[in-house]
């Protein structure tokens, strides 16, 4: 057991939480503005691929990080145009983006690297294992401040809660929604970039493996609030870190290994227990998912 709870577990938790925090905070800005964002996964993939590809080309991971951020925002722009300007169904558009982003990196890596879904491996000097972590944790108080203490945050929230009232008060609903969605793409892009140029040293196809959806779950779990969302991400990161540290170490009293399948259930089990037992009801922004039609 002493092997289980250690400094390694702490850092592992931090590393595993970082991409979730970034994507979940991104999702928060979008959903607080009333736009459902299940495309976080796709935006992360865009960020991950672009960051690795640009870092490989330029040799500077910070440029890669910025490019990953921009790529996330670009994909978010597609979501924004479809959902806000053309009032498409937000879930359908998000799903389409996720599927598109399974194929797009494969397609582009074929064009750039004669590969089919991965980028060349980056040397260790070109990686930024710490920057995205710092950004993620610094962003939580910033996001809180922006959301609750600035006029921008107030308008963003009002658009998500009651767009008619916001509109009547002179807030441009569409512009606020665009801002929210683009911000979500940029943040999810950083989250993805962390996976490819922070934690690993290359992009491989589908490397997010569902982290975008976990981030979304953390956002709901955290009641669309920055600090609670951070805690939810840390919980997910912690349970996964525990399951990683447990594997092959913790044994049954009989001396046999605990089946891997069971250990990998642990994060989800814990989540259900916490969700059911301690959180209470989670109320989404009132106008979430409803396209806003300006009255004439």
């Amino acid at each position: 057991m002493s092997e289980l709870f250690s400094v390694a577990l702490f850092w592992s938790t931090i590393r595993l939480s970082t991409p979730l925090i970034l994507a979940a905070l991104g999702g928060m800005f979008s959903e607080r503005a009333g736009v459902i964002n299940i495309a976080l996964e796709g935006m992360m993939l865009a960020g991950a691929f672009t960051a690795a590809a640009v870092t490989h080309a330029v040799g500077n991971p910070f440029v890669g990080l910025a490019a990953g951020m921009a790529a996330g925002a670009l994909i978010a722009a597609i979501h924004a145009v479809a959902c806000i300007s053309y009032k498409a169904d937000q879930v359908v558009t998000g799903t389409a983006i996720n599927i598109l982003m399974i194929g797009m990196p494969a397609f582009l890596s074929g064009a750039f690297f004669l590969s089919s879904g991965s980028t060349p491996q980056l040397p260790k000097e070109d990686l930024i294992p710490w920057t995205p972590i710092v950004i993620a944790f610094a962003l939580v108080p910033i996001a809180w401040y922006v959301l609750y203490k600035t006029p921008f945050g107030l308008r963003l929230r009002s658009v998500g809660e009651n767009p008619e009232a916001a509109d009547a008060a002179g807030v441009s609903v569409a512009r606020m929604k665009y801002a929210g969605v683009l911000l979500s793409g940029a943040l999810a892009g950083i989250g993805g970039a962390y996976l490819s140029i922070g934690q690993s040293s290359l992009f491989t196809r589908n490397m997010t493996s569902g982290r975008g959806f976990i981030a979304l779950a953390a956002l709901i779990f955290g009641k669309w609030r920055p600090v609670q969302t951070l805690l939810a991400c840390l919980l997910f990161g912690f349970t996964e870190a525990v399951s990683i540290q447990m594997q092959g170490v913790v044994k049954l009293p009989s001396g046999e290994d605990i089946p891997v399948q069971f250990i990998q259930m642990v994060p989800y089990l814990l989540t259900i227990i916490v969700l059911a037992g301690f959180i209470g009801s989670s109320r989404p922004p009132q106008a979430l998912g409803i396209p806003y039609q300006k009255e004439r």
Binding site: I102, S201, T204, G210, G248, D257
Partner: protein
Amino acid sequence: MKFAFWSTLLMLCLVAALGASCNRASYGAHDKSKIRVGIVFDIGGKDDRSFNASAWAGVSCAETGKWPDGTDCGKPALNIVARDIEPGNPTSIEPAMRAFAERGYDLIIGVGFAQTPIMELVAKDYPNIRFAIVDGDSALPNVALLKFKEHEGSYLVGMLAAKANKTGTIGFLGGMDIGLIHRFGTGYEEGARAVKPDIRVIKNYVGVTDAAWNNPGKGKELALAQISKGADVIFTAAGNSGLGAFDAVEQAGKVDGRATHLVIGVDANQNMVKPGFVLTSMLKRVDNSVYSIIEDVVNGRFQAGLHVYGLDKDGVAYAMDEHNKPLITPEMLQQVEEARKKIMSGEIKVTDAMDKK
């Protein structure tokens, strides 16, 4: 609303075009004088620098006489046309196989055990087309099974791991928790124990779904966890996820110019991925098996059923090249070579984890 509908439709078409076929050439290969070979890769994709890459190398060698990187593969080009498909997700495997079958390909190769049930369905519908599956099982009269004695190769790299080991603990990082991967793990452990009977082997698996092959982030975390528990050599059998272990040992760094922790690659030769940090690679010569089944079809000697590649037929081996030469002493090499001969002669029996049940 209309625009939204059409834009969504357009997007879905784009998705279909991108997701289903990432290959650059079309399915249709019209030259009837040549044998036509279609290969459907596993979810990892042909650039996993590992299992699929090895299968791709075999096809490339058969088609052009060259490895995918353009160097000579040492075997003659066969008179074939090859087309490949990389399914973006498990549901696109069956349409891909049927597309080849529908166009009357002579041989369709499926890469990876996960395609077995799909291939059985398709092979039943097209009894006149020859199929080959890597790592799969089937009793159909038109399906060849390309299998490997991974446990024998893993035994040898396990010996090397134990020889290079200083801490008394080594690690094994598998992709999915399945029989095939246990075969690697069990052979590895036996080989290590043959050198150091009381060595501790930590075995971890990335996941229980096929996403486990594509999660280098988690692979790295597992490798770091093994390192924190004292493992100084880690054998990966986890596709793309295994690349995370390469990052982990590199992060652990070097002392006096020598890596403190080493990784063992799998399937293809991964020694060059992080030179100096890779002890060796357990080669699973999928390329040889794919080449020879294509050769059989070309020469009209195709046989359904089991084709087993062990140490004897150069089916499994450990990789030695200029990248890992400084890490392996002549004494280590000599001991492993002796064991190799003993396994081939039957003097050493390596447990096959898939035989147990």
